[in-house]
């Protein structure tokens, strides 16, 4: 790894560790390998959002050309959000693309991703299905996001009705996550979800 990249990541790592956000449990950063090319981030779901109480893990890959190019970041924890792919965890956030600036750091990027959970950008979606639900059925979107937070990120709100429907599909021999995706996609209408799964 290029010298400047490794040196900078080391400095940033120290900065993050000393930050009040780490002290307050908002964000966390861990090393994955010894050559500083891969890290694991963690953000807390912001209060007053469907992600509240959840812990979300992020995969962070630092390119050779860092900080002249942005780190590659994706959600490892499954999440229901218009700007995150529910399948791959890919994030649509301008500062990770054409709005990157060399003075941004892992700390500011993690905080920006946390802010994205509080304020989605449905007009610039990563996941078209989620974005459509967010726009057309905000209440159902909220419940679905809360349910995913409960199941995958350790959030506190269990949605009994949704759990029942997933169980119904499990009883038919369908994989749990696949069942949840189908139900979430078809606004929790059991019939349409089943049809799609068996077509």
């Amino acid at each position: 790894m290029a010298n400047i990249a490794a040196k900078r990541i080391k400095r940033e790592f120290k900065e993050v560790m000393k930050s009040e956000e780490v002290a307050g449990g908002d964000i966390k950063l861990e090393l994955v390998n010894d050559c500083w090319t891969e890290l694991q981030g963690e953000i807390a779901g912001p209060p007053d959002t469907p992600y509240e109480g959840g812990t979300f893990l992020l995969e962070i890959k630092v390119p050779e050309t860092y900080p002249f190019n942005p780190p590659k970041i994706r959600f490892m924890t499954k999440i229901w959000h218009p700007n995150v792919s529910s399948a791959t965890g890919a994030i649509c956030l301008d500062i990770l693309k054409d709005q990157w600036a060399a003075a941004l750091t892992l700390r500011t990027v993690l905080l920006s991703i946390q802010a994205l959970l509080s304020a989605a950008e449905p007009n610039d979606p990563q996941d078209a299905v989620v974005a459509k639900q967010y726009r057309e059925n905000p209440q159902l979107f909220n419940m679905t996001a809360r349910h995913w937070t409960n199941i995958y990120a350790g959030g506190p709100t269990s949605v009994w009705e949704f759990n029942q429907k997933v169980q119904r599909l499990l009883d038919m021999g369908i994989d749990e996550h696949q069942a949840r995706v189908a139900l979430s996609t078809y606004d929790w209408e059991l019939e349409r979800a089943t049809e799609q799964l068996f077509c």
Partner: protein, 148 residues
């Protein structure tokens, strides 16, 4: 004749009145389709490198006292007698840090202050964006003066 003028939203000039050249220019641009009402002002990729001349003309300064500032690119602290390049926005960087960045894109990595570029397309885009903003402001002012 009067009907045609009316239909186009035009009117004849009063005695001694000068034509409004900006207005004509705007109409011309609209007719050519250059001047879209929904000009969104987004450049679809990272803006081009800073102009060679602008980079060469960056001020070089010598740090004169021990102050608690980092170079925003390598995050190393500046020390007394260190050399630094100063952007017009007054942000300081090591030369070896800021040059590769400006060879890639034209803005301050800290505050996004933009240096000029050698890219004609991008410079035209910036002008158009400024005009669109100006036009929006003009319309708002006009609206306010008519309805308040």
């Amino acid at each position: 004749m009067a009907d045609y003028y009316q239909e186009m939203g035009w009117r004849e000039l009063e005695d001694g009145e000068q034509p409004n050249h900006l207005l004509h220019m705007a109409r011309f641009l609209i007719d050519c389709g250059l001047y879209e009402d929904n000009f969104t002002g987004e450049w679809p990729r990272l803006p081009p490198p800073a102009a060679k001349e602008a980079v060469n003309n960056l001020k070089e300064i010598t740090i004169e006292d021990e102050f608690d500032k980092n170079c925003p690119i390598c995050l190393k602290k500046f020390h007394m007698n260190d050399k630094a390049k100063e952007m017009p926005c007054q942000h300081l960087f090591h030369e070896k840090c800021i040059i590769p960045w400006l060879n890639q894109t034209n803005s301050c990595p800290f505050c996004r202050y933009e240096l000029p570029t050698d890219d004609e397309g991008y410079e035209a885009f910036k002008k158009e964006k400024k005009r669109a903003e100006q036009r929006k402001e003009d319309l708002e002012n006009l609206h306010n003066s008519m309805f308040s």
